[in-house]
């Protein structure tokens, strides 16, 4: 680790001191290259000096630097970032705060401190400080080691997480019923649930491994195992309860009218959508129970339809009351996860003519009913008729709801009386004054059940047969071949005779017992699936295991074997074991050749299995995986239903997938003026001319939405259930885009004094009051303005000009005086921070690729990866390729951790 002398060029900061130094500066684009650039480090003293000398040197040389620079803001009054440098006037305190010095080193060498708003350190001062830091704490110097020799680190043996188990079993055995979905949840660390250190193995999990191995093995050999019929029951997120206003679809949903709507019913707000995992191919029943909505008197029968993956699979019509009119739709479905929906096709057809909708009802309006007030057209205001009216095309109110006098639901609905404007009253556009009609869209789905399978497919899948039975004789030679093949692939490494024999022994044992050949294979697979060599990805620690040339001289680092590298690649990009082609490249020993490696990566990125990366990396980074657990307040956000949620997830998923497939610039994440929508989401975003449930690419050029920060998924994931949070969104941007995660809040958050701010204060006023507290301000002055830039998007990502009666103020001013207003300008500002974004994304993806947290020693690699990405026009593939080429990905450090 040779270095030359002192740093020559510190980043230049020209901006002025704001009030307080920020705990995290936004404006420091320069930090990547200055200190850390290749070989620009300083000599590192091998040992820390004697304590006395050190203290003396600190007091004479180092403290003045801190005092003159840092203590301008980090003092006992301002306490910026909750740090007071004046404490160190007493050298005795110095040694008590090693974590402070690590932070100081990181902030100064990365250029994040002093912030843009303050004068930079003099180069000599910087050298004094950094040299002292690194001599006192030698490990600090590792962060700017030469990336060509830096410590590649060690990855702890990784247990397969749930997704990886499912995919590995699928790719190894052609068994695709997702057995791991019933395993306990995997813990996450450093943002991802594939972290070797965090993934633990409990007794419960071991029990499940044993049980799953049995079922998986039998499924592979004999076909789906005694799949018992079960019923999955689903209910909409928040349904009406007695006393609630009727559904508010027409009034809350944009771009919806009686003449222009989705006639399939699939994407109507009163449709109901779920994703359901079907355990086996077989016959199922989709059972839909409609709500007690009502059709206006004189309407024709209502249609109700079921859909699987967007295709209509059944249609029924309900004439009369919806009460208790559960409809069953039989359908044969293939195993796996499918999108199932129930909706009301042509729900605005067959209404009385007064509605002005398409294909009006040909039925007569019931005499003496349905009139309200003077001048209402015949049939107009009928809210329903008693059950006796059934057969005349009238849907009755449920018993006990109220008199069927044309105002059926009134008894339970305070909003609904003849005088007050009512949510239940509908006035068609252009209707004569005084027209009051019953709402035509109050029907909904109360619940959906999916029951089955009956007549399940009982044969093993062709993939299973191919994967398992590599020979067909029923003798021990073939048995050994079958086992060898599975063990080789399942252990993801060349195997010895012992490995095969251990598994084979089980097959031979039951053979002796007189069990059939198939049974022998089953038991072998079972044994394989609970082996630690299958359940864990263990990388060999014996240097001898790698070719001698692979060991880097004079270091304890060595290259992974080609098979280990192949495994890292496939779990990184496919969340599963290597396929044959990748395994063969490893077998030939050519995988590490740059051309071969690049070609393999490019091939893997184009493979449909990259969808798993989108789901697991993208879903955790952009958090769309968490949307399912998000429960926006139904009363404030009635539009948030499963279909919107699924559509929002799908938008982000397709956005990421497209970016990978077309190998676009990762800067698109920040400012893409395109996205992917279906009709429903398009309406939600205010886009017209998108018809049907298929997702397609659309331009956002004339809209305020840019990049992922314009997508409903991210906007919802960064909100509370009942409101937006400029703090959450600002923090999200700092962490995920600006690579400047704010430190955690101090342990005891001071109370926001409501009285001092005033009860009627706006959110902005309250946030500003919050920032009067210096400890809070040091971080919130960076976070909050960014969040304010997105305030035009409500807590489910819908556009709003006002919050309540108050116009939304979406302007933000950063500590350095930069201002922006609204999401488009925010996006343009973030675009100027591309370097920080590239570095941050590189670090996150490296974390995911390795399955461990990023250490100080990885910083040189991260910088090198970012530099490579910058040089490749930020193409997505360049991030992956640079990671794959990096030392932490390719190498491993010999064991140096003490045995615990």
């Amino acid at each position: 680790m040779s270095r030359d002398s002192t740093p020559r060029a510190w980043p230049r900061y020209r901006t002025l001191c704001g009030a307080l130094a920020a705990c995290v500066a936004l404006g420091s684009g320069a930090y990547v290259t200055t200190v850390s650039g290749q070989n620009s480090g300083r000599p590192v003293a091998p040992q820390a000096p004697a304590a006395a000398n050190s203290a003396d040197e600190f007091a004479k040389k180092v403290y003045p630097v801190l005092s003159d620079n840092c203590a301008t803001c980090h003092n006992d009054v301002e306490l910026a970032g909750n740090l007071n440098m004046e404490l160190f006037r007493d050298p005795a305190v110095v040694a008590q705060k090693p974590q402070v010095w690590a932070k100081v080193h990181e902030m100064v060498t990365s250029g994040k401190m002093p912030p843009d708003t303050m004068p930079p350190l003099e180069p000599g001062d910087a050298a004094t400080l950094v040299t002292w830091l690194e001599r006192t704490y030698p490990e600090l110097a590792l962060s700017h080691a030469d990336p060509a020799t830096a410590d590649p680190g060690r990855v702890t043996a990784r247990r397969l997480n749930r997704a990886e188990y499912n995919y590995t079993v699928r790719d190894l055995l052609g068994v695709d019923f997702h057995p791991a979905d019933n395993f306990p949840q995997d813990d996450a660390g450093y943002g991802f649930d594939n972290n070797g250190d965090v993934l633990s193995l409990s007794v419960v999990l071991m029990e499940k491994y044993l049980a799953a191995a049995e079922v998986v093995a039998r499924t592979a050999v004999y076909g789906p195992q005694s799949v018992k019929p079960v019923t999955g029951r689903y209910q909409p997120l928040g349904r009406r309860r007695p006393g609630d206003p009727d559904n508010l679809f027409l009034t809350t949903h944009p771009n919806l009218s009686l003449t222009s709507y989705d006639e399939s019913g699939l994407a109507m707000p009163n449709s109901f959508h779920v994703r359901h995992r079907f355990p086996a191919t077989g016959d199922y029943i989709i059972r839909a129970t409609p709500d007690n909505g009502m059709r206006p008197s004189g309407s024709e029968a209502l249609e109700i339809a079921a859909f699987v993956d967007g295709a209509q699979v059944g249609l029924a019509s309900i004439d009369g009351s919806l009460e208790g009119r559960t409809q069953e739709f039989p359908v044969r479905v293939t195993a796996g996860e499918h999108w199932v929906a129930v909706g009301f096709p042509r729900q605005f057809e067959g209404l009385p003519a007064a509605y002005g909708a398409k294909n009006p009802s040909k039925r007569p309006v019931p005499e003496g009913r349905g009139r309200r007030g003077g001048g209402a057209p015949p049939g107009g205001a009928g809210r329903g008729a008693p059950a006796g009216g059934a057969g005349r095309g009238v849907i009755a109110p449920p018993p006990g709801v109220g008199p069927a006098n044309g105002n059926g639901a009134a008894a339970n609905n305070a909003n609904n009386n003849d005088d007050a404007p009512s949510l239940n009253v509908f006035v068609p556009p252009g209707a004569p004054p005084g027209t009051r009609l019953a709402r035509p869209d109050t029907m909904g789905v109360q619940s959906m059940e999916i029951a089955g399978p009956a007549k399940p497919e009982v044969r093993p899948s062709p993939e299973s047969v191919r994967a398992v039975f590599v020979c067909t004789q029923k003798d021990t030679t073939c048995l050994r071949r079958i086992v060898t093949n599975l063990v080789q692939r399942g252990y993801r490494t060349p195997v010895g005779k012992l490995d095969v024999d251990q598994v084979l022994a089980h097959a031979l044992r039951v053979r002796k017992r007189g069990d059939s050949f198939d049974e022998q294979v089953v038991v072998a697979i079972q044994a394989l699936l609970v082996s630690p060599k299958f359940l864990f990805r263990i990388e060999s620690d014996r240097v001898a295991a790698a070719p001698a040339a692979a060991v880097v001289a004079a270091s304890r680092s060595y290259y992974l074997t080609d098979h280990e590298l192949a495994s890292r690649l496939s779990y990184f990009l496919w969340s599963s074991m290597p396929d044959d082609e990748l395994r063969q490249a490893a077998e030939r020993g050519t995988l590490r050749q740059p051309a071969v490696l690049t070609a393999q990566v490019q091939r893997m990125l184009k493979d449909p299995k990259i969808g798993r990366f989108v789901e697991n990396f993208g879903g955790q980074w952009l958090q769309f995986r968490a949307l399912e657990s998000q429960r926006p307040d139904f009363y404030k956000f009635p539009l948030w239903d499963n279909y919107l949620r699924m559509s929002a997830e799908q938008e982000t998923r397709m956005f990421v997938e497209n970016l990978i497939r077309d190998d676009r610039s990762i800067v698109d994440f920040l400012d893409a003026d395109y996205t992917f929508v279906n009709e429903y989401l398009a309406g939600y975003y205010g886009l017209t001319d998108v018809k049907g449930p298929e997702f397609r690419r659309v331009s956002l050029a004339n809209t305020p939405r840019r990049g992922v920060l314009g997508q409903a998924s991210v906007l919802t994931a960064t909100s509370y259930a009942d409101r937006t949070s400029v703090v959450l969104r600002g923090k999200w941007i700092l962490e995920n885009i600006l690579n400047a995660p704010p430190p955690p809040p101090p342990p005891n958050v001071p109370d926001l004094d409501v009285k001092g701010v005033g009860e009627g204060a706006t959110l902005r006023q309250r946030m500003e009051a919050h920032r009067n507290n210096p400890v809070c301000a040091s971080c919130h002055r960076n976070m909050d303005p960014l969040g304010f830039g997105l305030e035009n998007f409500d807590a489910i990502g819908s556009w709003r000009d006002k919050e309540g009666p108050t116009p939304v103020d979406s302007s933000g001013t950063l500590p350095d005086g930069k201002t922006f207003k609204g999401p488009v300008e925010l996006s343009a500002f973030l675009r100027t921070k591309t370097d920080a974004f590239v570095q941050g994304l590189s670090e996150k993806m490296l974390t995911y690729a390795l399955g461990r947290g990023i250490e100080k020693t990885d910083r040189p690699a991260v910088k090198q990866i970012a530099a490579g990405v910058n040089a490749a026009d930020h193409k997505f593939s360049s991030v992956v390729l640079e990671i794959v080429k990096s030392r932490p990905f390719q190498m491993r450090n010999a064991d140096k951790e003490p045995t615990k």
């Binding site: 043996a157 007794v203 419960v204 049995e214 251990q502 342990p747």
Partner: protein
């Protein structure tokens, strides 16, 4: 012998259709122990509620037997004589102690361990062995399951859970080793299968016997495999393989214990649940019913239940609280926030009261299940708004076989570690251990 359910009719097994959420505990559920054996058995249940409580609405004003019920505790009025309200307990290791933010993660991680969790997002997660596991280590071999961990919050977490702490600290209350959490089972169906068998009981007995033999033989051989690699891997890898090995051994012990006791058949009188119910109350209820069933059938004597992960964001629209629980818990003393939080606290209390009631109504030997148990309910935070780890809301139900004096509100003169209470509870279970986490001794004045 794995517990199986021969007596279940085929019709019952196949009747998995239709939600079946109520699990009545019927007398037909054969207790696995004779009355005499049950008499000596003391069970313990630890139930955790996240995000603290509205303490003014929790803590009774006066100590002693005549304390007045508070808005939250009032749900427990029917069990007044069976309850012991404890004021003055603290969880000192939930405090920052120089580690900065992350009080929720620490509250969860330290609650049953009394150990300050290492601040890490992943590498070297470390806290301590939790009280339930100390008990399970001592008495777990007597039952089918050494312990049972249940959770009522099933969500796909992403990222770090609280200010740089790994999600392990908030996901799991129970820690088998300092680095090995016992993640809770959140799916009622899976809990049912653990308790009453996932085996296809329609298979002939000899086939089932064969499969058990295969399982045992496989468990045997994987241990050899681990031993052959454990010597050549590094420190952290070894730790992972140790986890694997001890889990395998544990299952072997379970099988042996079942064989030794020669349990014939345990027949649960309720149907296999389908999955996670939609409504939270129904979800909690079914999990608590399963817990009661586990105790009643003596399938385990040690249970931990997480009503929600510490820092939970769950919304409670069904009781008129559509706000996320955690943001709401930073109530800033706003009256409407306090009112909503109280509603959540009351909602939880009612669900727990249902569980206590069920235990109280279940005969066990010469008394009730509740008589022979200790059910601890509480949170690792008191005022979540300020992240206070003192004066925790703690209530204990059941007298632990008559050894604890219930029916009163005990106000301790000085802050006392939760672990002192745990040591006392362990005493009642005849589990002898001198210290646990930050314990300083046992809790006086608890017994008669």
């Amino acid at each position: 012998m794995i517990i199986t359910k021969k007596a279940l009719s085929r019709r019952t097994v196949l009747r998995g259709m239709g939600a079946c959420l109520a699990l009545p505990l019927l007398e037909s559920m054969t207790p696995a122990l004779s009355a005499a054996a049950a008499k000596k058995t003391v069970r313990s249940v630890f139930i955790y509620a996240p995000n603290g409580m509205v303490m003014p609405n929790w803590t009774p004003a006066t100590a002693g037997a005549d304390f007045e019920m508070t808005p939250i505790l009032t749900a427990f009025e029917p069990y007044r004589t069976n309850m012991l309200v404890l004021t003055g307990m603290m969880d000192h290791n939930g405090n920052a102690l120089g580690d900065g933010g992350g009080d929720h993660a620490r509250a969860g991680g330290s609650f049953l361990t009394g150990v300050h969790p290492a601040k890490t997002a992943g590498k070297d997660i470390k806290v301590g062995v939790s009280v339930d596991q100390v008990a399970a280590n001592a008495i777990g071999s007597a039952t089918k399951l050494r312990s049972l961990e249940l959770g009522c919050e099933d969500s796909r977490t992403v990222g770090n859970c609280d200010s740089g702490y790994s999600c392990a600290y908030t996901n799991s209350l129970s820690w088998r080793g300092p680095s090995t959490p016992n993640p809770p089972e959140t799916n009622p169906r899976a809990v049912f299968e653990r308790l009453f068998g996932a085996d296809d009981i329609t298979l002939p007995k000899d086939v089932r016997a064969k499969r058990l033999a295969d399982r045992k033989s496989i468990l045997d051989s994987v241990q050899d495999q681990v031993r052959s690699i454990i010597g050549v891997v590094g420190g952290t890898d070894r730790r992972k393989l140790d986890e694997y090995l001890s889990a395998v051994r544990e299952i072997e012990l379970q099988i042996q214990a079942a064989e030794r006791r020669n349990i014939v058949e345990v027949l649960p009188s309720f149907e296999r649940p389908d999955g996670v119910p939609f409504e939270y109350a129904a979800y909690v209820k079914i999990m608590l019913d399963l817990a009661a069933a586990a105790l009643q059938t003596d399938s385990t004597r040690v249970i931990t239940i997480v009503l929600g992960r510490e820092g939970s964001l769950r919304t409670y629209g069904e009781i008129g609280v559509p706000d996320g629980h955690h943001p709401l818990s930073h109530h800033g003393n706003r009256p409407e926030a306090l009112e909503k939080l109280t509603k959540i606290n009351q909602h939880h209390a009612q669900l727990i009261a249902g569980f206590v009631g069920k235990m109280n109504a279940t005969k066990d030997g010469d008394g009730t299940l509740l008589d022979h148990s200790m059910v601890l309910y509480g949170s690792g935070l008191s005022d979540s708004n300020r992240h206070l780890h003192e004066n925790l809301p703690i209530v204990l139900f059941g007298s632990g076989n008559g050894s604890l004096k219930t029916g009163r509100h005990l106000m301790l003169d000085q802050p006392t570690p939760m672990t002192n209470l745990y040591l006392t509870m362990l005493d009642q279970m005849d589990v002898r251990t001198d210290t646990l986490g930050d314990s300083t001794g046992t809790l006086q004045h608890l017994s008669l």
